[in-house]
């Protein structure tokens, strides 16, 4: 059995009487690249912040590598890489200075690796952060998160402002590892769904503070179909009904012989968020 690397149990978070996370459960297997998708306001960023221990949930708990997120020791935190939705930078420092100030706090920080990645992303390293474009600020945040070869990587919309060439370079970098025991586990949220389709092993669809559907993406692509009437399929196998009255069906729970149209990530995203 695969080990669970990142986990949320019965996570609940309310803010000003509004439910942000609603009894959410998530288990990400070691080595998975999980695409976290959902509409704006679904709770993706809050979930990420709970997982990394930045926000304390009202109820429930999170673990990273088996350690409680709320109380990560420094030697565990060293193995974690995070990119927040808004780049977390010192605006008066250049890329090189960030490497010196932040990077060297990590035991496994590798200056050459960070420089090489910056070059692949076409990121200038001698400009103060405040003078960088939003895209370049995101690149710097990504390089800082990857420069110490983390075991767990949590990325909240890391590539929204990157051009397509830089996004490709970023996706390649996700899998670039120094020889280590055990594979890297990644959670990445993005609205660029065709980019996600290249790199994810798993997808979690999030809606209204819950995980609506999660599985290996290959399995979903092969087992979820959009079925046209006239008769409604048995309710057990229906995941959602589309705006035009078709059904999204999980074939694994459907009667044999049922078939429908295959769906890509965007189709399924739309279908699940009517």
């Amino acid at each position: 059995m695969t080990r669970i690397a990142i986990e949320a149990r019965d996570l609940q978070l309310a803010y000003q009487r509004k439910t942000i996370l609603n009894h959410l459960n998530l288990a990400v297997p070691e080595g998975a690249v999980l695409g976290l998708v959902g509409r704006n306001g679904a709770g993706k960023s809050t979930l990420m912040r709970c997982l990394t221990g930045l926000v304390k949930p009202t109820q429930g708990s999170c673990r990273i590598g088996g350690y409680p997120s709320q109380d990560l020791a420094d030697e565990v935190r060293e193995r974690l890489g995070v990119v927040a939705q808004t780049p977390d930078l010192f605006e008066w420092l250049t890329g090189e200075q960030h490497f010196e100030q932040i990077g060297t706090m990590y035991r496994d920080w590798q200056h050459d690796r960070a420089r090489a990645l910056a070059a692949q992303l076409d990121l200038p390293l001698l400009t103060p952060a405040r003078a960088l474009s939003l895209g370049d600020q995101q690149k710097l945040a990504v390089v800082l998160a990857l420069g110490h070869d983390p075991d767990w990587l949590l990325l909240d919309e890391p590539v929204a402002s990157l051009d397509p060439v830089a996004r490709r370079a970023f996706m390649r970098a996700l899998f670039d590892r120094v020889e280590r025991e055990g594979p890297r586990t990644v959670i990445i949220s993005s609205h660029l769904l065709s980019d996600l389709e290249r790199v994810v092993s798993h997808v979690a669809f999030m809606r209204q503070g819950r995980i609506q559907l999660m599985d290996a993406w290959d399995v979903l692509a092969e087992q979820v179909r959009c079925v046209q009437g006239p008769e409604a399929p048995p309710p057990d196998c229906v995941l959602a009904q589309t705006a035009d009255g078709r059904w999204i069906v999980d074939l694994r729970r459907a009667p044999p012989g049922m078939h429908g149209e295959a769906m890509n990530l965007e189709d399924l995203f739309e279908g699940l968020n009517v």
Binding site: M171, R198, V199, W217, D218, E261
Partner: protein, 131 residues
């Protein structure tokens, strides 16, 4: 390596399946011949910015079907003559045929009409291709 894959991430066909299908087709078409080496998992993943596990999965599947062999120091190569026959051209056409049948049904065409149309298309094509 002159072998080219085209990967379409937005295609509803999973990427590992796209790789498997393309290797099968290129074997059936003779572009991939026994003993030829495939790109390494890492190289193919890097080239297309895809997850290396996806490439591994495709290669392992092809290996388990006897179409590819893992060679020490070389990586994956196309298996020998025996395995070559394992590529069944009829099976490669199956998805297209299924799509055709489904679309004909959606258009309300009875099976006889579909048969007639296929025969017609075959006739037209062979006329055009006969010198």
């Amino acid at each position: 390596m002159h072998m080219n894959f085209s990967i379409a991430p937005s295609d509803p066909t999973p990427i590992y399946r796209q790789i498997v299908d393309q290797v099968r087709r290129q074997m059936a078409g003779g572009q991939l011949r026994p003993g030829m080496e495939l790109p390494s998992v890492r190289a193919l993943a890097q080239q297309h910015a895809i997850n290396p596990m996806t490439v591994s999965k495709a290669y392992s599947l092809l290996e388990s079907e006897g179409l590819l062999e893992r060679r020490r120091g070389m990586g994956m190569v196309v298996a020998g003559q025996g395995a070559h026959r394992a590529v069944d051209p009829e099976r490669l056409l199956a998805p297209l045929l299924q799509a055709l049948v489904r679309q004909a049904a959606e258009l309300g065409l009875p099976p006889e009409t579909l048969h007639r149309l296929i025969d017609q298309t075959l006739d037209n094509t062979s006329e055009r291709e006969t010198p």
